[in-house]
């Protein structure tokens, strides 16, 4: 056994140093860190765009950017946040945690893993760089609906190719994750004994493999409609722009769950740790996650209640969408039941987790409101929708990412982060998040349309509150950056098991986790 160890070490313990280490690495921890840093950078890039949008919306009228640039900012803000910030963050967590959690020596395909990451910077360059080409960035909205996306200039092609490259990255990353989970678990770790984060990523990766190719198909048809004379989305040739919406949202709705299921996984680790109780209803969590994933394939029409689908279609999509509330309710119930009578403490990860449960539920309920076809017909494309998806994406996905980062930073860096500053960051974020997005519900209910740089004067006050909140929210994130850098550079030494109530294989290796872990599978009980 000793010889085995040495042999494996010889191959790759002498990794290159400096930049070459990261260009050529095959180490899941290096790649995880690169994903997380990339995500954080894109979070600030997308956040900057959001602040320009909120600055413009501080007053009615046009002050800072012209309507064209405003459209470009809303479009690229969304694409950057979805494909550049949220998804890579979860892939970063997957890279760091899945091999540690299942007791694997690395990801199943270590080289392809690095390719998945290194496709992201070129794609981001195409996407963000499209602001610099004549005509500016794509202004069609992130959904790239024709005919706007057909009429756009060079930047739409850059966006389409960026989507292709990010799609290839996601598919390869997902195949890697599925294979790692299915084939590299420590002996004794049956599927129903896997950590919840691993389960949620298995299902997420399945969704990604199923729908990213569909998005690739959709944008390919856009490209041929734009340049090669096809009429997929043009009624003048027997096509239909609505067809794009159907294909896009067949991808788009599972995509929404791709951005929330790993969040559910992270929260399902944090809450048991700080409630010092095992997760309530493990099996029901697995079944609920699977149900949400399966239902996600048959609800896409709720994004297009106003395009004139047959009434039977609208009804089907309404009821199917409402069904999703059932497994989601199971999850929220389980998290609360996990906390019930637990000996709880409220370190920063737990604060984010508790805020996640309550704020995500608000976002879930506003989703239920929007699922009702007749209600959606008045609320469609208003700020109510903007409020809804920021509650599920920011106080959902991003809160879980921040909570997860605080939770595992000790494992990654070997140091405890600054708890006091972490808590300040949490409260600033939570309060300013609600100042930013809660008034948007009222704006939407009162009829303010989204994606428009100007508005009627009666919307001014709520917009001003929202903009002030947004700037506070944006600048609070600099504190997050500071806490992370401070934690990397030093701090109290973290134990192997950094949290008293933490369970799982990742807490059996030292902190920081050595460059190579579990080169021979650990015993799992």
């Amino acid at each position: 056994m000793e010889a085995t160890h040495d042999h494996a070490h010889e191959d790759h313990s002498h990794h290159p140093t400096g930049l070459a280490r990261y260009f050529f690495t095959t180490n899941h921890k290096d790649i995880g860190s690169m994903y997380l840093w990339f995500s954080l950078i894109m979070f600030f890039v997308g956040g900057f765009m959001a602040l320009v949008i909120r600055a413009e919306l501080f007053q009615p009228g046009i002050q800072i950017v012209n309507p064209d640039v405003f459209n470009q900012l809303t479009t690229i803000h969304a694409l950057v946040m979805i494909f550049g910030a949220v998804m890579p963050a979860f892939v970063g967590f997957a890279n760091w945690q899945i091999p540690l959690m299942v007791g694997a020596s690395d990801m199943a395909f270590a080289r392809m893993n690095n390719w998945s990451f290194w496709l992201m910077p070129p794609a981001a360059t195409l996407l963000v760089g499209s602001f610099l080409v004549p005509g500016g960035a794509a202004g069609s909205g992130w959904t790239l609906y024709p005919p706007l996306s057909i009429q756009g200039g060079i930047s739409v092609d850059m966006t389409i190719l960026a989507v292709h490259i990010m799609g290839a990255s996601s598919i390869m990353g997902s195949i890697n994750i599925v294979t790692t989970i299915l084939n590299m678990r420590a002996p004794g770790m049956t599927l129903m004994r896997m950590p919840m984060f691993v389960w949620t990523w298995l299902i997420t990766a399945y969704l990604l493999i199923a729908v990213m190719p569909v998005l690739a198909g959709a944008v390919t048809m856009l490209l041929t409609d734009r340049h090669f004379g096809t009429h997929f989305f043009n009624a003048a040739g027997g096509g239909d722009p609505t067809m794009f919406m159907h294909i896009f949202w067949f991808f788009g709705h599972p995509e929404v769950y791709i951005m929330i299921l790993p969040a559910f996984g992270i929260i399902s680790h944090i809450i048991p740790t700080f409630a010092r109780k095992p997760l309530f209803g493990y099996a029901s969590m697995v079944y609920a996650t699977s149900s949400i994933a399966l239902l996600s394939f048959i609800v896409w029409g709720h994004h297009m209640f106003t395009v004139g689908m047959p009434a039977a279609g609208n009804l089907f999509f309404m009821y199917a969408t409402m069904l999703i509330a059932v497994p989601t309710g199971v999850k929220v119930f389980n998290w609360i039941a996990t906390m019930w009578k637990g000996s709880m403490t409220f370190e920063t990860p737990m604060l984010f987790a508790v805020a996640f449960v309550s704020l995500f539920t608000i976002g879930g309920f506003s989703g239920l409101v929007l699922a009702i076809t007749p209600v959606d017909i008045t609320l469609h494309n208003t700020y109510y929708v903007v409020a809804h998806f920021h509650y599920v994406l920011f106080s959902g996905a991003i809160f879980s990412i921040m909570g997860g980062a605080y939770y595992w930073l000790p494992k990654w860096t070997g140091h405890m982060y600054d708890e006091k500053l972490g808590k300040v960051h949490f409260w600033l974020t939570t309060i300013s998040f609600n100042i930013t997005f809660f008034p948007q519900h009222f704006l939407g209910l009162a009829g303010m349309p989204r994606r428009i740089p100007d508005y009627a004067t009666q919307f001014t006050e709520f917009n001003q509150i929202s903009s002030v909140g947004a700037f506070l929210l944006g600048f609070s994130q600099l504190l997050f950056l500071y806490v992370i850098i401070k934690c990397i550079r030093g701090g109290a030494k973290a134990e192997a098991k950094a949290w008293e109530g933490a369970e799982g294989l990742e807490w059996t290796v030292p902190s920081p986790a050595p460059y190579h872990t579990f080169e021979t599978p650990p015993a799992f009980h």
Binding site: A8, R111, N114, P122, V178, P213, G238, E519
Partner: protein
């Protein structure tokens, strides 16, 4: 070799991923240039991109083949390859599903709905049936007939599935001559299929811009043809490796992966034959 078999093989740091990313970035820039800044810069970037991509494919696959024949892959690594190839083919199925979805939507929804409207503005003589004619036609509209070349092509691909399975059985029974004959037959059938497909394109009485029929026809059959081309290239590589004495009756997953891919391309064709040509 016993030490290598005990641990899961994790490759050493490798330059191929960044080389591959560079290739795709160059291809993307080339594509954008070609569409907006003219032929010369576009072709330069595209050529560079393809060159780098080819370099990467040879280098990376070369590494993998070398690791495989030197016995670094244990049975667990083999299982990883099997899972991954299966999921990759699933992703390909979903890619074609997008285009089949477009075909079904056009046939069942968009063209019939246009028929309900005041449709004389769409193009003169618009009829909401399928195949739909489309604008810009100079000659009489003639959709592709199923029982000519496409039927022959169906027969060719189905036969190629049989010859490939025959070659696989030869490999498992270590009959190397039969293996090479089977591979050569499969490749020949694939190339004949591609030749007939090109002939059919040449004879088509409609184009990519002939309305939604032309669009769905050419994108579905075009992407399929592209996959057959890739499959044929993969078969040629595998045959060359067979000729060099690679693969044993027990270990030959590269062969099997290509066979899975070939059967997948075959099944897609059956869908095309039924829904694009025949019904």
């Amino acid at each position: 070799m016993s030490t290598a078999q005990d641990v899961y093989y994790v490759p050493a740091p490798s330059k191929w991923p960044v080389v591959g990313s560079t290739a795709l970035f160059l291809l993307a820039i080339g594509m954008v240039s070609l569409l907006h800044w003219g032929k010369t810069p576009g072709m330069v970037f595209l050529a560079a991109g393809f060159a780098v991509l080819t370099y990467m494919l040879f280098g990376w696959f070369g590494n993998v083949i070398h690791e495989s024949v030197s016995g670094k892959y244990n049975t667990q690594v083999d299982a990883s390859f099997r899972w991954a190839m299966g999921w990759f083919i699933f992703s390909e199925v979903m890619f074609f599903a997008a285009f089949f979805g477009a075909l079904f939507y056009a046939r069942q929804m968009s063209v019939p709905i246009l028929g309900d409207l005041d449709n004389q503005l769409i193009w003169p003589g618009f009829k909401p049936g399928w195949p739909s004619e489309g604008p810009y036609l100079t000659d009489a509209f003639k959709p592709m007939e199923a029982w000519g070349l496409p039927a022959v092509n169906t027969l060719l691909l189905l036969t190629s599935g049989v010859t490939l399975t025959w070659a696989h059985h030869a490999l498992m029974e270590n009959k190397r001559t039969q293996l090479l004959i089977g591979m050569a037959a499969t490749i020949a059938l694939g190339l004949t299929f591609l030749f007939f497909q090109a002939t059919e394109y040449g004879e088509a009485a409609f184009t990519l811009s002939t309305g939604v029929y032309g669009a769905t026809f050419f994108l579905l059959t075009g992407f399929h043809g592209f996959h057959v081309t890739l499959g044929t290239l993969m078969l040629i590589v595998i045959m060359a490796r067979c000729g060099k004495g690679h693969f044993t009756p027990e270990h030959h997953f590269a062969f099997e992966a290509v066979a899975w891919y070939w059967h997948f391309v075959d099944v897609v064709w059956l869908g095309l034959f039924i829904f694009v040509y025949w019904m």
